[in-house]
């Protein structure tokens, strides 16, 4: 038995070179209503530079194929030329809507190779920041999903709410995006004074705004018409295609790494896994909207349970000495210099770590040869794998629904192409 048998339509993917497509276009067959069209790579609804070729029969989409690579910049090769300390600056640019998760999975991989323990506070700060990032990423999805389907006002609302969270990120990490905040050994800096008030004000604003989104979209007949029953995928198909995250959960399969294989301190907080029923575009939308509410629950618990103590490991091998020590001690100065020029060495070995990013399983496969730079760094990007579900979701649907389906996969092209 193979998981291939679970696909409803094995031939949903359009495997045809451009030469073949041209040859076919030259042959005029009056009975053949089908034609092959190309969408993208520059199309406002394709979230960056995604190109899709589709075979149409009238307005119905038959086979299709996503064509990617337009944003490929060789980031995995770059990673081999950066030290383990510089690594997060590289990976954070992959999934730019949820940069902290990239930094987290990379840092967890380095820490697993070095077998270093983290102080509690570092773990909890990471969890707090990641859940806030999940909220900002899903808000971005709501904004673009709304705009793709004609709720143009949603574009403004989603970005406005996201900005509240990014403002907090800027206060903590110094940057709105691409933070390089989570690093091997802990986080770059402690939370600033008054962080609890800032987080509370976000938690105070959001529930009311989310209720407004419900009025604007969830309960609205046009929105439901546009999304319900569109782009359906089954649990077996999602698993066979390696799809994770909201796509898998929308089929009613409660798979969330935070619950199934807990990392950080997710086994110490309460939250629910949001699942759908039909695996359609509406379910994927509703899951993301409600995951914001669940993340808010986790953030609230982080406020109460945040432990005191150091925010990074006291292992001098990975953590530079405190600033004050550098003024007094020549050794501390040298140590600081060595860490930032040569980097620290990581014992040889290979490891795979995975976290639940807003888009699914975000993994990092890391190989060290004992030096200060990775021998091989591979990011298992959820968007890259999830995109394979696109032809299966679109098959037999209408062309206008293709936009809804692409949007509901929520691909981040920086992560797809890396």
């Amino acid at each position: 038995m193979t998981t291939l048998d679970h696909l409803r339509n094995r031939d949903a993917v359009l495997r045809m070179s451009e030469v073949e497509a041209e040859e076919r276009a030259a042959v005029v067959d009056p009975d053949d209503e089908r034609m092959i069209i190309n969408m993208g790579p520059q199309h406002p609804s394709t979230h960056g530079v995604l190109r899709v070729t589709m075979e149409l029969e009238g307005e119905t989409v038959l086979r299709s194929k996503p064509i990617i690579g337009y944003l490929h910049t060789g980031m995995e090769k770059t990673a081999e030329d950066l030290t383990f300390l510089q690594g997060p600056t590289n990976v954070t640019r992959m999934d730019y809507a949820s940069p902290l998760f990239n930094e987290l999975t990379f840092s967890l991989a380095v820490e697993a190779l070095m077998e270093i323990e983290l102080p509690d506070r570092a773990t909890w700060i990471r969890m707090l920041m990641c859940e806030l990032n999940r909220m900002s990423s899903h808000l971005l999805f709501l904004a673009t999903n709304g705009m793709d389907l004609g709720a143009v006002g949603m574009m403004i609302y989603g970005w406005r709410e996201r900005e509240e969270i990014l403002r907090f990120f800027e206060k903590v990490t110094g940057l709105r995006m691409n933070h390089n905040y989570i690093r091997p050994g802990g986080v770059a800096a402690d939370l600033p004074d008054g962080w609890r008030d800032d987080v509370r004000s976000i938690l105070k604003i959001l529930p009311e705004r989310l209720d407004q989104f419900d009025v604007l979209m969830t309960g609205q007949p046009i929105w439901r018409e546009r999304t319900q029953g569109v782009g359906v995928i089954t649990t077996e198909e999602a698993l066979a295609l390696g799809a994770t995250g909201p796509i898998l959960r929308s089929t009613g399969f409660a798979w969330d790494l935070r619950r199934a294989m807990p990392y950080l301190a997710y086994d110490q907080v309460e939250f629910d896994i949001v699942v759908g029923t039909y695996g359609d575009t509406f379910d994927r939308y509703a899951i993301r909207l409600n995951e914001i509410r669940e993340s808010m629950r986790i953030v609230e618990q982080c406020l109460d349970l945040m432990p005191e103590g150091p925010y990074r490991t006291q292992d001098r091998k990975v953590t530079p000495p405190p600033r004050a020590r550098i003024d007094e001690s020549m050794e501390a100065l040298i140590h600081h210099f060595k860490i930032f020029t040569e980097g620290f060495k990581v014992p040889p070995g290979e490891v795979y770590t995975a976290v639940e990013s807003p888009r699914g399983e975000l993994g990092c496969y890391l190989v060290s040869d004992g030096g200060a730079k990775p021998q091989r760094m591979h990011i298992r990007a959820p968007s890259f794998v999830n995109l394979q579900t696109l032809p299966h979701m679109m098959y037999g649907g209408l062309l206008a629904d293709a936009i809804a389906v692409i949007s509901s996969i929520d691909p981040i092209m920086g992560e797809v192409d890396r």
Partner: protein, 181 residues
């Protein structure tokens, strides 16, 4: 100023040279098993790899979560079971069992002279894109792949960028001398 490196003895050298694992290593389905930082790793041969994946589906590992290549050119620190012949390339497959949450990794040695393995996209259709990526980046060939075209690289691109002997392209920056110095 005194020699600064002398005081850095506190940083221990962690590099250990490759050592053969114990010869009577554990076996699973006749394939050597190792443990890497607490993670289960299987080392099948390139020939038995396809059948092993099929066997593991029956056992519950029915999601191919990740597939990538690696180039071990110039890496002398790799640790493999004694019965596994090290080759330049490796194919790494991460499998997931979603019913009883557990993971398993497969490392296949792929020789440089003939970088061919059977495709697993007939078992796990989700591996299709990942195999195309490994093929782009390392020049690995997947026999029987339904769509062996470049995925991330442009059509007609020469070379395989993630190979260790593929140079990082750069244009040297010319600094002009400042006058008077």
């Amino acid at each position: 100023m005194s020699e600064p490196t002398a005081s850095l003895e506190e940083t221990p050298e962690t590099v250990e040279l490759s050592e053969e694992l114990n010869n009577n290593a554990e076996q699973l389905h006749g394939v050597p098993v190792t443990d890497s930082r607490g993670q289960l790793v299987l080392h099948p041969s390139a020939g038995s790899y396809h059948d092993l994946i099929e066997l593991l589906v029956e056992e519950g590992y029915d999601v191919c979560i990740d597939l990538c290549g690696a180039d071990y050119l110039g890496n002398g620190t790799r640790v493999l079971p004694a019965s596994v012949e090290p080759e330049r390339f490796e194919l790494i497959v991460n499998l997931l069992d979603v019913r009883t949450p557990r993971r398993l990794r497969i490392r296949v040695q792929v020789p440089e002279s003939e970088p061919m393995v059977a495709t697993i996209s007939g078992i796990h259709p989700g591996a299709e894109a990942m195999e195309r990526e490994a093929s782009d980046m390392f020049g690995l060939c997947f026999e029987g792949h339904p769509d062996p075209t470049p995925i991330l690289l442009p059509d007609g691109w020469e070379g395989h960028p993630l190979r260790k002997d593929f140079a990082i392209g750069s244009i040297p920056v010319q600094f002009k001398a400042v006058e008077g110095r």
